[in-house]
Every structure is written in structure tokens, then in C-alpha cells.
């Protein structure tokens, strides 16, 4: 059973795969998972302090001081990831894209485009059996939504978190009531972030039946070519047009690496689901 969960039934271990994510981005995502789950777990103990679970978890984390330390350390990591990503963007602009224009307005842009809007309408039609599957490109609109949600979250949760971390400094300028407002924003935005990541985002990457039990592309960075053709037809076409498919083809990882990755993935997944269950329990059954 466990073996089935951590081995991929569809993947041929010798076939070449398409490289989709750089190693740097893969590392950032893995670190982000750890820091995000740490932040969520420690933060939830405070938000749902009225549940027995919170009391138990707070003890596991070594009290509110221990939990606080973990929360702040993880926050620093998340800030680091954010900054590292921005720096990486500029680095890649220089190396790969040459100019801001290419980066932001090229076919691989993260910014919403007209095609995204068309894809969205097309998707709705596809869902309702009114049309074919849209030709998704390098980044789909829901991926772009997730990407910018991080920006929004970093702003909303990160900034209010800093207020709560250094209230003495912020109240040199702002009135004390801002701390109360920051608490509400921090806590509710965090609920939104965790809720969204652990349900919608998880569905997109893990629970979508065609990818079940999980899409490990974000960890390996690799997608089997046949799957790539079906999943991202627009991007495939783009590559074929340029005729440099070989540039993207790499060897798959050995099974042992895949297993480690899957164990990590499952751990994150289970923690995330547990939190969803806990949130629902705390909000619906034990709300105070």
C-alpha cells in the first residue's frame, strides 16, 4: 500500500523528461513548504487556543515561547524565500530574458494576459462539457493566481506579522489600536492562506484524479514528455516551434530520490489535511 503511494505508476524510469522548474525554484518551494507548515501549525495554536488540540500542540512546540520562536524563525525563512525569488527574477531577467519587457510580456510571463482570460472562460466551458480542454501554456491562470496570492499574503500577513513582532517600534508612529487591527488581519489572512493552500492548491497538485496521489513535478522539476504534451499543449507547441526540445530534456531521478520526495510530499500533505480538519473542528464545533 505504502509502496503504491510512493511509487508512480505512470512514469517510465528510463524515458527522458521535460525540465519544468529550475533547481533553485524547487529548493525554494521545499523550504517554503517547511516554513509555511511551521508557521501555520504554530500560529493556529494561538488562533484556536480554546481547543484541546492547541494546548497539546503548544506543549509539543515547547510552550508559547518555543512556538513563538519557531513561528518567527519560519517567518524569517519565508521572507528570505520571497527576497531570494525577487533576486532570482532579476538574475534570470539578465541571463535568460535580456530585458524587463521580455520577462513581463513574453509568452512565459507570470502576469495575467488575454490568453489567461480566454483560458479561464475555455476552462469553464470545458468543465461544463461545452468545449475542448483549453491549450494551457507554461503557466495556467490558476497557477498565476496562486503565485500572486503569495505576494498578497506576504504583504498582508508579513507586514502585520512584523507589527505584532515589534509592536513597540510600530507604535512609535501608529496608534496602539493598530496592533489589534493587525492581529485580526494577520490571523484571518493566515486562515485564508492555509485554507486555500491546503484545499484548492492541494487539489490542483495532489488530489486532481489525473495526478493522484500527487504531482511531484515541483520537487523533481521534471514532467514525462507524453504527459507534458497533453497537459501544456501551448508550451509544447512553442518549444517545438523553436525546435529546441532537447534543451529541456533530462534524465529522470533514480527511484530512491523519488521515494524521499514522495515521503516528504505525503508528510506535508497529511499535515495540511490535519490542519484543515482542525480548522473545521475549531470553527464549526468548538467556536467561542
Amino acid at each position: 500500500m505504502i509502496k503504491k503511494l510512493i511509487d508512480n505508476e505512470f512514469v517510465d524510469k528510463h524515458e527522458k523528461q521535460v525540465l519544468r522548474f529550475t533547481r533553485f525554484n524547487r529548493i525554494l518551494h521545499a523550504v517554503m513548504i517547511v516554513s509555511f507548515i511551521s508557521l501555520a501549525l504554530t500560529g493556529m495554536t494561538l488562533k484556536f487556543s480554546y481547543t484541546g488540540w492547541a494546548v497539546f500542540l503548544a506543549k509539543v512546540f515547547g510552550g508559547f515561547e518555543g512556538a513563538g520562536l519557531i513561528h518567527r524563525t519560519a517567518a524569517v525563512f519565508l521572507f528570505g524565500i520571497f527576497i531570494a525569488h525577487i533576486i532570482d527574477l532579476f538574475r534570470r531577467k539578465r541571463k535568460e530574458y535580456g530585458s524587463m519587457k521580455n520577462l513581463f510580456l513574453g509568452p512565459n510571463t507570470m502576469l495575467p494576459t488575454k490568453k489567461d482570460f480566454k483560458d479561464f472562460i475555455g476552462s469553464l466551458k470545458w468543465f461544463l462539457w461545452l468545449g475542448p480542454r483549453p491549450n494551457y501554456g507554461r503557466w495556467t491562470y490558476w497557477e498565476k493566481f496562486d503565485y500572486f496570492a503569495v505576494f498578497w499574503g506576504m504583504g498582508a500577513i508579513g507586514f502585520t506579522g512584523l507589527i505584532l513582532w515589534f509592536p513597540e517600534i510600530f507604535t512609535l508612529i501608529l496608534p496602539g489600536e493598530v496592533i489589534n487591527i493587525a492581529t485580526i488581519i494577520h490571523s484571518d489572512e493566515a486562515l485564508l492562506a492555509t485554507g486555500f493552500i491546503f484545499t484548492v492548491h492541494f487539489f490542483n497538485t495532489h488530489l486532481r484524479p489525473e495526478k493522484f496521489p500527487m504531482d511531484i513535478c515541483i520537487f523533481t522539476g521534471r514532467v514525462p514528455l507524453e504527459e507534458f504534451k497533453i497537459d501544456r499543449p501551448a508550451e509544447y507547441e512553442e518549444i517545438m516551434k523553436k525546435g529546441d526540445l532537447d534543451r529541456y530534456l533530462v534524465d529522470p531521478y533514480p527511484p530512491i530520490v523519488i521515494r524521499v520526495i514522495k515521503i516528504f510530499g505525503w508528510t506535508a500533505l497529511m499535515l495540511g489535511f490535519s490542519m484543515v480538519v482542525w480548522i473545521i473542528y475549531a470553527m464549526v464545533f468548538a467556536y467561542q
Binding site: 513597540e168 496602539g176 485580526i184 484545499t199
Partner: protein, 669 residues
């Protein structure tokens, strides 16, 4: 010239002489002036509805020891006053001349009673009269020896208010005295040198026999008697046949052990009522009552080590008749400890224990239940049942769960003894042996135990602060000025007292976690809303997780010195709030102090910003989830379809490369 000078000289003397004469005339006139009115036998005034004669008997005064004096010498407040003078004069202060007597009087039982405002207390005039004071040597004087028994008897005769209502342990004093050898000598034979009341009790320094300064205390009585019976000790040493006093000097009986006060008889005591006489029988270990067969033996060892080792058997077991072979056969009543321990007895009678005793309740404890009988050790002896460490066990005999007092108790306190044992007081007393720690009788004051619903009880709601303050004085002072004290309110309020936060028998150390976390629930019992909003804030949430290093009620509001925030003494007043925040947040500024420590986002009127932020965030949350949720749900059928296609595709791929597939299968197996 010389003539002139002489004239001037005469004139000078004449003037001085006139002045002197005039002066003496003036004072003489003053007394005469008083008499102008007060010689009228019909002169009266009304005081408190009673008609009082203001007649001054000149003839009697002339015989008095004070006949040389003017009215104003005693009635000093009339000096230089115009007539008619004030209706009510100040009380004459005899002490201005009789300083020594006044001082003795103020320390004696009479003086103290007067100071207390006891309307039965005698003052100078009650014994000495006012204007017609005669010297004690004058046989006519009311303080002459022959009159003394009558004078004292006015108050101390049987049935008088003093005898009935005050703590006088001797009865039939006057009757006994008049039949005693002293009384007989004085009253029947007119022997004025015999002992009267004041010979033994003194005139002005009357003290109880329990006072070591008293002339009738056990220590001094021999000296008092020896004032007249100079050689008596010599005589007695020969007379008393016992060897006991030679072996154990401290067992030497005092005069009153044989010659009971007031009843001193003209009999020859060939047999003193020494303990030895009692022990002759009661020393035997198997001596039993002929009536009910109970054991009557007395362990002499117990007696020797007891607090009462200087007390003779007959002092407690009164009514003995030394002349009889079995001196004790005349004993009719039980030992009455109140003879000596009057105050304790009085308190006991008011206590629950005493009330049950008065109702003949078989469960009611009496003196001996707690103190024992012959082996009374006092509270300083570690073997004594009333030594602090032993008191919880002593009370437990009845008050432990299931025991006779506990089963009839209907109040809310249970497991009293075991709870106390685990409390800070119990641990201090029983584990550390700290004998000054509070134990049962410190709060439920010994001999005065009353249930908490009795307003006189030391543990009644209104008295608890005072009771705890007996040890925790500093805290009591703080508490009494706080908002929680009734003293801060004009109308009667339902306010908390020590017990409401600290409990009665499960008192915990206030600096330890259990108490610190529990206290929030305690405050919350009354301050329900404010406690709830506290738990909405960071401080409250962290506390609820079970951690104490965050601000709890008392960190900001104070523990015992709680004032309304409008009070400048409050830790949360405008003057102090910043300092209070800075205890934990050293960098706090005045703006920082604007943090709402009891904020809730459920109140749009009070906290509009919080309310709208919360609902704004909630709106965003709901919108996102609805959108994301619908999008995902709609996707599922298509995703399932894709899964089937992927499987087909996979099959195609694996069919084209059979070798790799078989390899994979091997591995799976």
C-alpha cells in the same frame, strides 16, 4: 523729707496689703457665690429625666477632709466663669492631686471597666462620696474598715448586677466573708485590724488573680496573707506533715489551696488538701468509679509534665472536704475550667461548639476533647494536641470527611483536612514544620469557631480580610483601600474577599502556575464579559494555552490594590498605564499603551475599526473559498476523464516498450 519718705513707704505697704486682702476676699467670695445658689435644699436639675439635687451641705463639708478647699479647686472648669455657669460641669478629676491612686485605679479592673464605658464600673465618688469625704481612719467614713464589706458589697453581693453580669468567679462573697474568721472578727467583734476586702485586694489596684501583679495571684498570695500572718509560713512548714514540698518545692500549696478565699474558717486544718492525699488512691492504675465503673486513675507522670503541675487537684476538682476520709466524696459538679480560663469559656459558649454543648448535643466538644485532662501541655509543647502542627489532626478527629462533624455539615467546603494538607498553609505547617503558618484555629479562631454565615464569625464574608490580615497585614491594608473592599463603597455591594480568589482550604502559592492560570477564571466569575474579551487578545490566548509569562488580570490591574482606571492610584490610570506596560514591554510608548487589551471585533459601536476589519477579512475569505471551491468542484468530472485517458496513454507507451514494463513489474513484486 524723712516724713515724706515714710509716707510713701506706708502707702506702698497699704496698697500691697489691700491687694492681698482683696485677692483672698475674691476667692472666699467665689465659694460663697456658689453657695448663694447651692445652699438652697430645693435646688434641683433634670438629667436624663431624673431629678438630681444640687444642694450643697455646708455642715457636712466642714467635717470633710477637703474642707480647706474652695469649690473651684475641684470644679476647675468654673474658674473665672460668669454666672450662671454651664449646666453641665466637667467631671472632677481627683487624679490631679491623688496621682498615685489615679494611676493604680486606671490599671485595675474598676478603672479598665470605666474606660470601656461599663456603666457598672465604680469611680472615685462611688466609694469615697463627693463633698463629704471623711478620712479612712474616721469610723464614720464609708471606707473605714467596718464599712468596707458593705461598701464593696453594694456591687459584689449575691444577685447584684455586677455578680450576675460580669466575670466574677467567686459566689456568695459577702456571705462567705461574714462567716469567715475575718468577717466574724470584723463584723461581730468589731476588730478593725482584721482583714477586710481591701486588705487582700487593695483599695485602688484591684486585679484579677490571673494577673501576676495582683496581690491575690498565686505568686503573691502568701505575701498578702503574711502582711498580717507574719510567721505563718514558719508555722505551716512545721504543721504540714507532707514531705512533698521538701522534695518538690514548686508543689508547695498556696494559702488559698487550703483556706479557700472568703471562706477562711476558724478551724484547725490538720489535713491539708495536698495532691498527695488525692494520689494515695488515684495513683493506683486500676481504680474505678463504683457508680459507672469508669477508670479514675491518674498518671502522676502526666501531672508532673502538665502545664497545671503547679495547680493542686482540689483547685480544679473543687468542692472537696479535707476533713473527710474521702475528701472527694462531696464533689458534685464536673471540673469547671472557666474558674481560671474565664475569657476562653465565654468565647466557647458563643461558638458553635459551645452552642451544641448548651443543647446537650453528644457530639459537642468540651475543653477536654481538645486539651485533654491531666496531661495538659499548652500550645508550645510539640507533644500537645494543640501544638500548631497537631491542630489539623485534632480538628480532623471530627471534621475529616465521614467523621461526626463532617457528616452533619451542609456547606460547600469538603475534604477540608486533605485539601488543607495540600494547600500552601498545610504544606508549610505539616511538611516544612513552619509553626507560624495558618492552621485551623488561626482562621477559625480557637474557642470562637462559628460558621461562615454567622456575622460574628472570623470567617464571615465581612470579617475574612481582617482574619487573613492577622498574618497578611500588608495585603489587608492594600485590599481595604481597593475597589473590592466594602470601604470603597457607600452602599452594600456583593464584593469578593480573600476567599473568593484564594479559596478557603485549597489556597495555593500565588507565584505558581496553577494559581496564576486559575485566577483568570476567578476574576471571570464576576467580570464575565471583560474576561471573555481578554481571551480574544494575544495575552488571553497565550494564557489559555497554559503559559504564565504573559499579562494576566493582576499583572495590569494589580492583585490586592485594584482601583478603577479613573483613580490615580490605579496601575491603569493615565499616569501609571505606561509604566505598567513597560514592566513587560520595556520599549513601550504612550501610543503603545493605546493597545486594546480587551478588544472584541463583535462590537461595531465600541470598536468600529476592528469590527469592519474583521468582516472585511471574512468577506474576502468567503469570496475566495466560494470561487476556488466552485472552480475545483466543477473540474472534478473532467479530471476523472483525463485520468482514464492518461491510463490509456500509459498503456500505449508501456506496450511499445515491453522490456521496461516487465522490469518494473519485477521490482513491484
Amino acid at each position: 523729707m524723712i516724713h515724706q519718705k515714710m509716707n510713701l513707704f506706708h502707702l506702698f505697704f497699704f496698697i500691697v496689703g489691700l491687694l492681698v486682702l482683696n485677692g483672698s476676699n475674691l476667692s472666699a467670695q467665689e465659694s460663697a457665690e456658689c453657695l448663694a445658689c447651692h445652699s438652697d435644699a430645693t435646688l434641683t436639675k433634670k438629667r436624663a429625666g431624673k431629678t438630681i439635687s444640687l444642694f450643697f451641705n455646708e455642715k457636712k463639708f466642714a467635717k470633710s477632709i477637703h474642707s480647706q478647699f474652695e469649690c473651684i479647686n475641684c470644679h476647675t472648669d468654673l474658674e473665672g466663669k460668669e454666672f450662671p455657669h454651664n449646666e453641665n460641669l466637667a467631671k472632677v478629676n481627683c487624679g490631679s492631686c491623688h496621682t498615685k491612686q489615679q494611676e493604680m485605679y486606671s490599671q485595675c479592673l474598676h478603672g479598665k471597666a470605666a474606660k470601656r464605658g461599663d456603666h457598672l464600673a465604680p469611680s472615685c465618688v462611688d466609694c469615697h462620696s463627693s463633698h463629704d469625704i471623711l478620712p479612712a481612719k474616721d469610723p464614720q467614713s464609708q471606707v473605714a474598715p467596718l464599712h468596707i464589706p458593705y461598701l464593696c458589697g453594694q456591687c459584689h453581693k449575691e444577685g447584684s448586677p455586677v455578680q450576675r453580669q460580669r466575670n466574677i468567679h467567686q459566689s456568695n462573697i459577702l456571705e462567705n466573708y461574714s462567716e469567715s474568721i475575718h468577717g466574724e472578727g470584723l463584723l461581730k467583734k468589731g476588730l478593725v485590724v482584721t482583714a477586710t476586702c481591701v486588705s487582700c485586694h487593695t483599695a485602688h489596684q484591684i486585679l484579677p488573680h490571673t494577673d501576676s501583679r495582683s496581690t491575690i495571684s498565686r505568686k503573691n498570695i502568701a505575701n498578702t496573707c503574711a502582711q498580717c500572718h507574719k510567721q505563718i509560713e514558719e508555722v505551716h512548714r512545721k504543721v504540714i506533715k507532707g514531705e512533698l514540698w521538701e522534695k518538690q518545692l514548686h508543689i508547695l500549696p498556696a494559702c488559698v489551696d487550703c483556706h479557700q478565699p472568703h471562706k477562711v474558717r476558724k478551724v484547725f486544718y490538720d489535713q491539708g488538701m495536698a495532691d498527695r492525699d488525692c494520689l494515695r488512691c488515684h495513683e493506683k492504675p486500676d481504680i474505678r468509679s463504683t457508680k459507672d465503673g469508669r477508670l479514675l486513675s491518674v498518671n502522676t507522670d502526666d501531672l508532673v509534665h502538665s502545664r497545671h503541675n503547679r495547680t493542686a487537684c482540689s483547685q480544679c476538682h473543687a468542692e472537696v472536704s479535707p476533713l473527710k476520709t474521702r475528701a472527694c466524696e462531696t464533689i458534685k459538679s464536673k471540673v469547671n475550667c472557666a474558674v481560671c480560663h474565664a475569657q476562653q469559656e465565654e468565647n466557647y459558649q458563643k461558638s458553635t461548639h459551645g452552642q451544641y454543648f448548651a443543647k446537650n448535643d453528644p457530639n459537642a466538644p468540651t475543653c477536654k476533647e481538645c486539651h485533654g485532662t491531666h496531661k495538659i501541655l499548652g500550645k508550645l509543647d510539640s507533644k500537645s494536641p494543640i501544638f500548631p502542627i497537631n491542630v489539623p489532626n485534632l480538628c480532623a478527629r471530627c471534621h475529616q470527611e465521614g467523621k461526626k462533624a463532617a457528616v452533619r455539615y451542609t456547606g460547600p467546603e469538603h475534604e477540608i483536612i486533605s485539601n488543607y494538607t495540600e494547600s500552601i498553609h498545610g504544606k508549610g505547617l505539616l511538611k516544612s514544620g513552619l509553626v507560624v503558618t495558618a492552621m485551623c484555629t488561626d482562621c477559625h479562631i480557637a474557642h470562637q469557631e462559628l460558621p461562615s454565615n454567622d456575622p460574628n464569625s472570623s470567617v464571615h464574608h465581612d470579617n475574612i480580610a481582617k482574619t487573613c490580615g492577622r498574618c497578611h497585614h500588608g495585603i489587608e491594608v492594600k485590599f481595604e483601600s481597593s475597589i473590592h473592599s466594602q470601604k470603597s463603597h457607600t452602599e452594600k455591594k456583593d464584593l469578593p474577599t480573600c476567599r473568593d480568589c484564594h479559596t478557603a482550604h485549597t489556597i495555593k502559592r500565588a507565584d505558581q502556575e496553577g494559581f496564576k492560570l486559575d485566577i483568570m477564571q476567578r476574576c471571570g466569575r464576576c467580570h464575565e464579559k471583560i474576561a471573555k474579551t481578554y481571551f480574544d487578545t494575544y495575552h488571553g490566548k497565550v494564557s489559555r494555552l497554559g503559559y504564565v509569562k504573559t499579562a494576566k488580570c493582576y499583572d495590569c490591574h494589580g492583585a490586592h490594590d485594584i482601583f478603577p482606571v479613573t483613580d490615580t492610584r490605579s496601575r491603569l490610570s493615565r499616569e501609571n498605564v505606561l509604566q505598567t506596560c513597560q514592566k513587560c514591554h520595556p520599549g513601550a510608548t504612550r501610543r503603545f499603551a493605546g493597545y486594546l487589551t480587551h478588544a472584541t471585533h463583535h462590537d461595531p459601536d465600541k470598536y468600529p475599526w476592528l469590527f469592519w476589519t474583521f468582516w472585511g477579512m471574512t468577506g474576502l475569505l468567503i469570496t475566495t473559498f466560494v470561487f476556488g471551491g466552485i472552480h475545483t468542484l466543477m473540474w472534478i468530472p473532467r479530471a476523472l476523464q483525463m485520468r482514464r485517458e492518461m491510463k490509456k496513454l500509459h498503456k500505449k507507451v508501456s506496450d511499445s516498450g515491453n522490456s521496461t514494463q516487465s522490469e518494473k513489474e519485477k521490482k513491484d513484486d
